[in-house]
């Protein structure tokens, strides 16, 4: 889901102050609550996010991005690698099948964001480094720190709409 903050860059500047504190003390993910007397809220779909902050869907999107990039770089007759002496097959069925398998496994909402960003920039994903989108170099609001986000959902940059992911530190 696209998480677009209503705040502009002024808000982002204010957020920069708190980013160190947010990084050192990550907020606990908010649990679903129910009003007294009403039926309990069903548990949210189990999120699969590891220490690297990559959800399963983000992994699939990364793979799709890499496959699209590979296919783009190896357009028949346009490849730089062919000039370096690498033999390239003209049949790319395996890649086409892999791409379709990945697209089938990704939700239509995430795929919509992916296709829009890909057609606009030729690269749909951008890593976040020190609270900055590495696609457009816009500083993200503190509310978009990995500790306060539900990382099993696809997060888009509020400025450039690229899909964001948080690579492991180090």
């Amino acid at each position: 889901m696209k998480t677009v903050s209503g705040r502009g860059r002024g808000g982002a500047r204010r957020d920069a102050k708190g980013s160190a504190a947010a990084a050192s003390k990550p907020k606990a993910r908010r649990k679903p609550t129910s009003k007294a007397g009403s039926a309990p809220v069903p548990a949210a779909r189990e999120t699969v996010v590891d220490s690297a902050g990559l959800s399963e869907e983000t992994e699939l999107l990364i793979q799709l991005n890499d496959v699209e990039l590979l296919m783009k770089e190896h357009q028949v007759g346009e490849s730089v690698e062919a000039g370096l002496g690498f033999r390239l097959k003209e049949h790319r069925e395996r890649l086409v099948i892999l791409r379709q398998r990945l697209r089938d496994a990704i939700s239509s909402e995430a795929l919509g964001h992916f296709d829009r960003a890909w057609s606009r920039y030729g690269r749909a994903l951008a890593p976040v480094s020190n609270g900055v989108c590495c696609g457009c170099f816009g500083r993200l609001p503190t509310s978009m720190s990995p500790g306060s986000l539900n990382l099993d959902r696809v997060i888009c940059c509020p400025y450039c709409a690229r899909l964001l992911y948080w690579p492991p530190q180090g």
């Binding site: 690297a52 990364i62 730089v80 690698e81 370096l84 994903l125 492991p168």
Partner: protein
Amino acid sequence: MTRKLSPPRALRLAEHFRPQNIRIKLRAQTRDDVIEELTGLLGLDPRPRRLILETLLARESLGSTGIGKGIAIPHGRSVVVSRLMIACGRSEDGIEYDAPDGKPVQLFFLIAAPPTEVQNVYHPALARVVEIVREQRTRNLLLTVADAEAFWETLQKAEGE
């Protein structure tokens, strides 16, 4: 006041990896296993490592990255990599790699790069490896050196020549 601009520096492969990214005795016996083993030398976390492995195997499906004379250069771009990364390996017995000359591959140079770079070093790095290993003397040295440090130093010297 005019500012002097220094000429662009030539790409130095040895600046992009260290002896710890080299394995002199690869254990793998198949193409996919050797790529997996080399990916492990990049020093990435498990999940990014798996993602770059998928990309490298997808690249192999487009055509073997074996270039003949016992050399293979598996390579690919992925968003999980933030800079140019290189890993090297040597197989004692050689591995069937669908190389153009049909010979088993003994020397491997894995290159991984991000999708976009400020300075394009990915293709120059590929070209540099091809250029270096074209020299038979360098190939023979790389096949005979005793350890990873000597392998790295041989590459560094070959680049300087």
